[in-house]
Symmetry: C2
Amino acid sequence: MGLVVQKYGGSSVADAKRIKRVAERIVATRREGHDVVVVVSAMGDTTDELIELAEQIVPVPGGREFDMLLTAGERISMALLAMAINSLGYTAQSFTGSQAGVLTTSVHGKARIVNITPGRVEESLADGNVAIVAGFQGFSKETMDITTLGRGGSDTTAVALAAALSANVCEIYTDVDGVYTADPRIVPNARRLGRVTYEEMLELAACGAKILHLRSVEYGRSYGVPMHVRSSFSTKPGTLVTGSIEEQAVEQAIITGVAHDRSEAKVTVVGVPDKPGQAAALLRELAAAETNIDMIVQNVSTRGTGRADVSFTIPTSDGATALNALRRVQSVVGFEELLYDDHIGKLSLVGAGMRSHPGVAATFFTALADAGVNVEMISTSEIRISAVCRDVDLDSAVRAVHDAFELGSTDEPAVVHGGSGR
Amino acid sequence: MGLVVQKYGGSSVADAKRIKRVAERIVATRREGHDVVVVVSAMGDTTDELIELAEQIVPVPGGREFDMLLTAGERISMALLAMAINSLGYTAQSFTGSQAGVLTTSVHGKARIVNITPGRVEESLADGNVAIVAGFQGFSKETMDITTLGRGGSDTTAVALAAALSANVCEIYTDVDGVYTADPRIVPNARRLGRVTYEEMLELAACGAKILHLRSVEYGRSYGVPMHVRSSFSTKPGTLVTGSIEEQAVEQAIITGVAHDRSEAKVTVVGVPDKPGQAAALLRELAAAETNIDMIVQNVSTRGTGRADVSFTIPTSDGATALNALRRVQSVVGFEELLYDDHIGKLSLVGAGMRSHPGVAATFFTALADAGVNVEMISTSEIRISAVCRDVDLDSAVRAVHDAFELGSTDEPAVVHGGSGR
């Protein structure tokens, strides 16, 4: 008996039949005695259809009116879901982002939640209703305009709402049944994780695991909201995201899993004068253009020219913006050339235990070398090692690393304990 | 130079191409120096598609959530229209009903506008924008919920907004180029009316002319808003609805036009005891069920049984409701039988001049008799005569009456002056 926030993604409410099934699941939770707040995304292809319509009007839609347009998507799904719940003999009320008090910054298309004042949601719960809230949207008090939160916005709405309402748990329903040690489409014997810490989930999300969006996990960690990733198509136990690596028992597995990412490109700035402040000038320009830089590597030139090459990875979607920004400062910084390469792949090994197990990096790179994978860039954090390779090598690289750390399930479910880091 | 409110219906914004054309028309008005407020309906089939989706969830959708669902339609069209205007170098902002201050009663599906507080619209105009407002929707201050206005709601939004903003004119763009003396699909030589009074337009709208909805004309008359009916597909002059029959010059035509309606059914309550209050009891019950009764005829029985038959017409969409309501009081009122007939048609002759021309009724019924049309029910107002006939006879009835009053255009456009009422 408590308050449960459930978030259903677009594929879970893609048509009337699925909406009815979701309604049944919500009613089942309600029947267990819980108060239920539901955050819902737009139905399946709705958002894409709206974008397509907008693109028939203007080449690059954006801004206030584009947000107004896109928010129609959740309006449709949430109203239909409320109807479906009502038809099962329970009462439900749907609320837009602004009705639910989701206050955001005023940056259209990628607003950030600044506060949630869910008075109407609380009243609705007190009246015995299931409260359904539109994901992905809010409004800016400054401009009084409707905003959208950008990618992963519905997850973030759900977690932020769970925090504001002091919910017991935020259940994220999706089309997979949890977080795995690797993408099961690439690694068939990948194993579902019963529990991961926020930090590990953050690293996995940042490194390409698509299950939870980075921002929502950040929010969950900041406010201590347990996040439960589950499939809306099954009743499997899923994965619980909770706790910190500090609390984690010593006998925990040292490795959580392998994430991969095909959505980045590598930009190399060739011949940057090797004097203080040059790389900073480049990065400042990229930051001003709101480009998300991931990995950065600087190679001091061995050609004796006093020049270095700076390489970094960015989302391919930021590619054009980044190149334009860099060209603007070419004459100021005085670099020679720009190279753009979108045939890269990135794999990342994540695990809280690797902090105290120095053998992990060696095992990781040995596995890649044995699989014939050439590593082009490397970056690490306290609990992660990432490597960039050719995109065509990515799948075999992921499998090689997953095997090397024995992450797969066997007849007896494999648990990799401390010390097995070879 | 002034303030123009323009309303565009669903067919005018049915796809991206049409939205762009509407944007050009709005910009042309703006370029003439006018401030422009646009009220827009949902794109073409959007509302029907949303209804269909809802019907996949529940058999008879309605209430709060259905209104939430349907209002997504205008949200889409208004945002796209704003983008199209922005892309032409002018600035536009779209506003939902609640953002535009459209305050309504809280009856979902057929809320009535109680007030408009268009502060944000005025600010937007003052900033030099075209303000686009979602038609058909508002919100209830009492429940804080989104409402819809029901049929004709966008016309009503436009006229009410024009009144609240003291606009010079409310232009209603539609897919026909004005109000005609009869439906040109039935009467090929029907003539466009340059100007009609509110009263005449009210009668025409009430009698089946689909061009303007009754409520919007009532609103226009109450607040003295000139309404200009025009085609969004041409630049033809259209029809101006303004002025009262009292002001109308004596040499005005006595007959305005012929309206027809196929959407009604006739209910006959057979054998109602012929004593005071019995018909009232029936009508009270129908009113409680929110059935819209149009014509009522009571025939005192000639069978010497002390019983009468009461017939009335209602929209066929209210048929089931009306029959159920009547059955509930059958034992109390003690009538014998209910007959339901939806194969009727109604035609109505409207004209301010008929008040002072007693020959009009004679010409009307002679024309129907000569055309072999059997009249089943009759009702009249000061400026209207209506007759119910078999639905199969309706087209020829309309043509016969249109001809008898010489309403059609000839080489020299026909103007029927006072005295020609035969």
